[in-house]
Symmetry: C2
Subunit: 361 residues, 2 copies
């Protein structure tokens, strides 16, 4: 069946690079002469071990991950990391959390089960429309780590700086990983669910300073010990093999696009196409404050929830899918992840202009 021309603006799971999907389809029944699908392979087989090792090596290269840091492929999404981080790193002490959106808020609440949580910053006072700046961070003297979410998918904001803290940085990069270069050495632990910018849902990437492993609480499930997972190279048990394979295919595509530097060069351009329309519109209003706007998730709204709904519906009829804002905030949201082609963004820009004209504003 031929692919219909649709552009998918979903916040995650979300659009994947077409070459990756085409290769997955072509290799489905016979991976590399094995006579098997990747889905049928023992995770201990030479075929899969090569997929695993090369995917890890590609990710290490793409993000210039230093030797001090291990790359783990886990399960359970960022949400399981909300528990795994404090279970392993809090040691019953205090941790600093910056609450700048829904997911950092959930992570903060979850950490209370495992120690003392100090909210070092929050932008809840203005509906998470901004990111607190360095001088506003109230850091604990004895924090085991400082936790933040780099890009807030629901509110469409992104941290425009890397916090400076004495405690190790723990950062949820789920919705921006691989969209720009990162100095991994600044972080104690980076976590990212794959289903936004990397792979299908089902694998979670953790990149951690190995010196932080081995501090888990005694009741930590065996699968949730970073130390165990480092020692077993993510294969204490069967890993999510297919998702790891798909991540490898996405990383192959990323390489052809100039890697994370190539993504950074184009992401501003893609987002600016939409933000410029919003800024010059009498119909659309931005949700996030200008200097904290996310290039990954562009959030906006009209003056009227009914018109928002109409916008999403008419866009869908033109093949522009999943533009409805998150159910908790309403409005509209266009997710412009790495695999979102420029043509998709241009089509959305065109539609936004037409919709504004049609509504005589």
């Amino acid at each position: 069946m031929e692919r219909e021309e649709v552009f998918n603006f979903a916040a995650g799971p979300s659009v994947l690079p077409r070459p990756a999907l085409e290769r997955a389809a072509a290799e489905m029944l016979n991976y590399n002469g094995s006579g098997m699908s990747v889905m049928e392979m023992s995770h201990r087989s030479a075929f899969f071990q090569e997929i695993f090792d090369s995917t890890k090596a590609k990710l290490r290269a793409a993000l210039s991950v230093p030797d001090t840091h291990e790359i783990l492929f886990l399960q359970g999404g960022a949400s399981l990391q909300f528990s795994m981080v404090p279970m392993n790193l809090m040691e019953g002490g205090t941790a600093d959390y910056a609450v700048t959106g829904n997911f950092s808020n959930i992570a903060m609440k979850e950490a209370k089960k495992y120690g003392t949580v100090h909210v070092a910053a929050s932008s809840q006072d203005d509906n998470y429309s901004y990111i607190p700046q360095q001088q506003a961070l109230e850091l604990s003297a004895d924090a085991k780590y400082f936790y933040y979410c780099a890009n807030n998918t629901i509110y469409g904001t992104a941290w425009n700086y890397v916090p400076q803290t004495r405690a190790p940085l723990v950062c949820d990069m789920s919705s921006e990983i691989l969209s720009h270069p990162v100095d991994v050495s600044l972080y104690g632990l980076i976590l990212a669910g794959a289903q936004k910018n990397m792979a299908p849902a089902g694998v979670t990437v953790v990149i951690m300073d190995k010196s932080l492993a081995g501090r888990e609480a005694p009741y930590t499930p065996l699968m949730m010990s970073y130390k165990t997972m480092i020692e077993k190279d993510s294969m204490y048990n069967t890993p999510p093999c297919w998702c790891i394979y798909m991540l490898g295919l996405t990383l192959d595509w990323l390489q052809t696009q100039g890697g994370v530097a190539g993504m950074e060069a184009i992401k501003h351009e893609k987002a600016a196409l939409i933000y410029d329309i919003i800024d010059n519109s009498r119909l659309y209003k931005p949700c996030a404050q200008r200097q904290f706007r996310s290039d990954m998730n562009v959030t906006f709204r009209t003056a009227d929830p009914d018109m928002d709904a109409q916008f999403a519906k008419q866009a869908q009829a033109k093949g522009l899918m999943n533009l409805k804002g998150h159910r908790s905030v309403g409005g509209l949201r266009a997710s412009l992840y790495n695999a979102q082609p420029m043509e998709g963004v241009q089509a959305l820009a065109k539609f936004m202009k037409e919709f504004e004209v049609a509504h005589h504003v």
Copy 2:
């Protein structure tokens, strides 16, 4: 690329039904006219919700799951269940464990973190070659549950009865689920990693009596509360969408094969082809005692580890893959899961006879 003629005897991940793989390849770029791959779909989209609901309904029908029981699609494999079960059901009290192999042994040890473990039975004294019978079970008066593993993948044994206990039964059915009818009402909780008889690695099926939910310990991670997962219909966060989709395709295939009754009818026949050769051989020796033999995992060995290695190597050259026994026990193992075609078993039987003749025993 054409699929080469190989038969995959891996213990998991393992062979999947070819029609399921073919359909996955055909639908890869455009699922049901959506213009998207299933891997790209929002888990909140109508397209994916339909996949989710229909897969759950097919599984409920295939195993005749009563309304008292909920079906959950989780992550982390059976290994995460080894922790999730005691965290949710032990209430700091006592649980009975039957230790009949590697995975029940790990589960038993893991439960010690969360309460008092009572080993109600063990077959370690004879290298897990048998299953303790009902009268040998030493049941605690106050056990919160009785835990066992129905089929022991590494040792090639299977429980030939359902234990009778006052406490709810918790059963790991990872390597035998969907291979025969089960009276689900007898169980408090059934868990099964998908990668043996259901789907690719990355989804874990839990079927549980809803009345057992809501007893989790306070430090239980939010993702590991059965109660939360029941309330959120397995979608507290993004589920492993692709694996759930593949499970649906496998269940479609299962239906064409007469469902679990059809599988039960053929599984004895498939296993008997191999066991008969072993029983009539001077070269091959069975690992499991006759009345406890698994139809899913046939374990055997020659008198000599070098000859075992030679067997596996020569078999592989003929396209009979992954016959090496688990690294912890050595020997040989042929996994004959649902999707293993009769032709594969016949090809293995033929090779076994030829190998025996060639070695002049």
